[in-house]
């Protein structure tokens, strides 16, 4: 990186993409030389100033050769407060709060948050993160509101609900990034093998993880598209994922729309089959989000930046299929997911038994993408309104923009060299129907089955 090179050395090329400066035999030597944090910051600042002064590198080198390094440094320091700039930069890089407590629910949605611990993504940013496994979504919500957790794995509708004060005290939460897209499924009990058509599901009981979950909204959407009223024609019960599998076995519920690995677990336990993957309802739908205490980014800007870098790079790492095997090994132990590896492999690789005797291959069954589209937030809000969780009128766009920090995420992703979309809004297609985020009210009115 050119930022580590001595800009006062006439033999250094500053305008160059490579990493090694050429003064060392190996990259390791180079890094050993640059170990000193202060030296590194000084160099970065000096380089920036020199690059500013001499846009053409050849000119800078000629200048340094002509007057000598010492004279040049003295000359520049007289009109540019190099010391002050260095101090400013060093101050900016310092982590205000290196010890963080982050909550998670043991499901594959939390993969980036969890793997960032054992795979060193937090440590690389100088963060000391305690990953706290949590008993349920309501507890997550309470612990974030109590400020016991600095940040947490959340269902993507939760920060919106908490910011609006739905089902809890009103306390805003910022969505720094989305964790996973897709990766959920509708699982039915084996006895319903012949009821593939949702129109036949009248009177059935379904398990869901939480009121403010994408699962609830997707299942309601799916049922309503089949002509069933989710509040009248079926029974929806909230329960933690392991209870879904146990209740399916006991016959207390007929199916569930739950997070992985519990759909695959139901197949593995031979109690259910995977009816529909959530990617077949809405390919690329958001599932879980990374929620951070409101205002954290203002109070601890450097810590927030470091945390975002860790999470976004972990999410990007998890997106690549070739990394999935290593990730499975990192997240399977009892400290994290506590799940059998064969189940996790089927979820993460997309080559899985469907429970009806077939092996299916859906590589994008679960995927990871950090960008928090504000159009996703608007969709979630329209559905919360549709089923009367939101009473009264709200400004969809305003709420979405307050909670989903998309613009900030784009900037930070660009700094990491990750591809981020140019806009915060896009059209989504859910079960063949296009959702235009600029027309939420018209979209809401277009549904036949709704509460409000």
């Amino acid at each position: 990186m050119s930022g580590f090179d001595n800009p006062f050395d006439p033999d250094t090329k500053l305008h160059r993409a490579g990493c090694s400066c050429g003064r060392h035999h190996s990259q390791a030597d180079h890094e050993a030389d640059m170990k000193n944090e202060d030296a590194r910051v000084s160099r970065v600042v000096e380089s920036a100033v020199m690059r500013g002064l001499f846009p053409d590198d050849q000119m800078r080198r000629n200048f340094l050769r002509a007057v000598g390094t010492g004279t040049a440094m003295a000359a520049i320091s007289t009109f540019f407060p190099m010391g002050a700039a260095k101090a400013l930069a060093a101050e900016k890089g310092k982590l205000e709060k290196p010890d963080l407590k982050i909550g998670f629910i043991p499901i594959t949605c939390a993969t980036p948050i969890i793997m960032a611990g054992p795979m060193g993504f937090y440590a690389r940013e100088g963060l000391n993160v305690t990953l706290q496994k949590t008993a349920g979504w309501a507890v997550i919500r309470d612990k974030v509101q109590n400020k016991e957790y600095d940040a947490s794995h959340m269902l993507s509708p939760m920060p919106l609900a908490m910011s609006l004060g739905l089902g809890s005290a009103k306390q805003a939460v910022d969505v720094a990034s989305i964790q996973n897209i897709n990766g959920q499924a509708i699982t039915l009990a084996l006895k319903h093998k012949d009821k593939m058509n949702p129109k036949d599901w009248k009177g059935m009981k379904f398990g869901l993880p939480f009121d403010y979950s994408i699962h609830n909204l997707l299942l309601r959407y799916y049922l309503a598209e089949a002509g069933l009223d989710p509040d009248k024609d079926v029974e929806l019960r909230m329960m933690p994922p392991p209870d879904m599998v146990a209740n399916l076995r006991a016959g207390n519920i007929d199916g569930f729309l739950g997070p992985e690995p519990f759909n695959q677990r139901a197949v593995y336990e031979e109690v259910g089959f995977i009816h529909t993957l959530s990617r077949d309802l809405w390919d690329g739908h958001p599932c879980c989000a990374f929620g951070v205490q409101e205002g954290f980014y203002k109070q601890y800007p450097n810590t927030y930046a470091a945390l975002f870098r860790a999470i976004a790079s972990a999410t990007d790492y998890a997106h690549k299929p070739e990394n999935r095997k290593a990730i499975i090994e990192a997240i399977a132990p009892a400290n994290y997911l506590n799940q059998p590896i064969p189940v996790l492999e089927q979820v993460m690789t997309g080559r899985f038994a469907d429970g009806l005797g077939k092996v299916k291959n859906v590589p994008d069954r679960v995927d990871f993408d950090p960008f928090p589209w504000q159009s996703m937030a608007v969709w979630i809000l329209t559905q919360l309104k549709r089923w009367n969780y939101i009473k009264g009128d709200i400004d969809y766009k305003m709420v979405a923009e307050e909670v989903f920090r998309a613009t900030d995420a784009r900037k930070r992703m660009a700094e990491l060299g990750l591809k981020a979309p140019a806009s915060n809004y896009t059209k989504h297609t859910i079960m063949g129907k296009v959702f235009d985020p600029t027309k939420p009210v018209e979209y809401l009115n277009s549904f036949a089955i709704k509460r409000s």
Partner: protein, 283 residues
């Protein structure tokens, strides 16, 4: 020739016999299903399934699997693999610490208050409605309120223990103090014993058996409640252990935890059994 067995010998034999019977029934009930493996199962599909699609693996553990788990868990009770995976010994220690914390806090409030209530009819009648109202509330019903006001999960668990241990101790102390024999109090009065000396030398020893019974009941309830509270709050403790293993649908580990909860509960109860024997007296 007849050999006479003592009562306790007979009881132990019967206990052992029962244990053997339970093991036998358990063994028979969890024998693998003898169904013949289906022929037309795709081997790749079978490999992706739990016990192989053809053989239905019983989800309930066999006695052997159970013994194995117990051995593994008990041979390394204090391992620490990070905040969410600790050995059974550490988990039990967390739970015990919470129970003892809440219990002694409750004792510190309930015993002096019980003394006051037991000594004064006015106090008794004034506080009685509150005690009667608060006593039947399930301690876990306090949990959301505790989380909301205390804003700390671990402290909330201790609070729940406190509130559930309070009432039996309070009521028993009040009852014990109120029912000290009048003769003894009269003797104390005749001898002009000062009130503090009377409380510690006459009333306390006289009421001690009743107070200890209250403490014993409280401890029993506290140990019952901590498991449920930790399942709700999570983090550490034996209740969290049960929840975490249930999350993995691991019945073997859940059974193991149940057994450990029973053993610790029994130990706590027998400590109070010994204590109450020591303060018992014959009139």
């Amino acid at each position: 020739m007849k050999t006479r067995l003592s009562l306790s010998q007979k009881a132990s034999l019967l206990s052992l016999g029962l244990f053997a019977l339970i093991l036998l029934v358990w063994y028979l009930a969890t024998l693998p299903d003898a169904r013949v493996a289906a022929v037309n199962v795709d081997p790749e599909y079978a490999a992706l399934m739990g016990g192989g699609a053809a053989s239905s693996a019983s989800s309930f553990p066999t006695p052997l699997a159970m013994a194995q788990t117990m051995w593994e868990r008990l041979s390394d009770p204090f391992y620490d693999n990070g905040p969410n995976d600790k050995g059974i010994g550490i988990q039990l220690a967390y739970s015990l610490a919470r129970v003892l914390g809440g219990f002694f806090l409750a004792a510190a409030v309930a015993i002096p208050l019980g003394f006051a209530i037991g000594n004064s009819r006015v106090f008794y009648q004034a506080l009685n409605p509150y005690v009667q109202l608060l006593k039947p509330i399930s301690p876990l019903a306090w949990m959301p309120l505790a989380l909301y006001t205390i804003k700390d999960a671990s402290a909330s668990a201790i609070f729940v223990i406190f509130i559930c241990s309070l009432w039996p101790m309070l009521i028993n102390t009040a009852h014990g103090v109120a029912n000290v024999r009048r003769d003894w109090l009269d003797v104390a009065r005749t001898l002009e014993v000062n009130p503090l000396r009377k409380a510690f030398r006459v009333i306390l020893p006289a009421a001690a058996p009743t107070i200890l019974t209250g403490m014993r009941i409280s401890m029993g309830i506290a140990w019952l409640v901590i498991v449920a509270a930790e399942m709700l709050v999570g983090g550490t403790g034996i209740g969290y252990f049960v929840w975490n293993e249930w999350n993995n649908l691991s019945i073997t580990n859940v059974l193991f935890a149940i057994l450990m909860i029973g053993v610790v509960g029994m130990a706590l109860d027998s400590i109070f059994g010994v204590l109450s024997k020591r303060v018992a007296y014959q009139e």
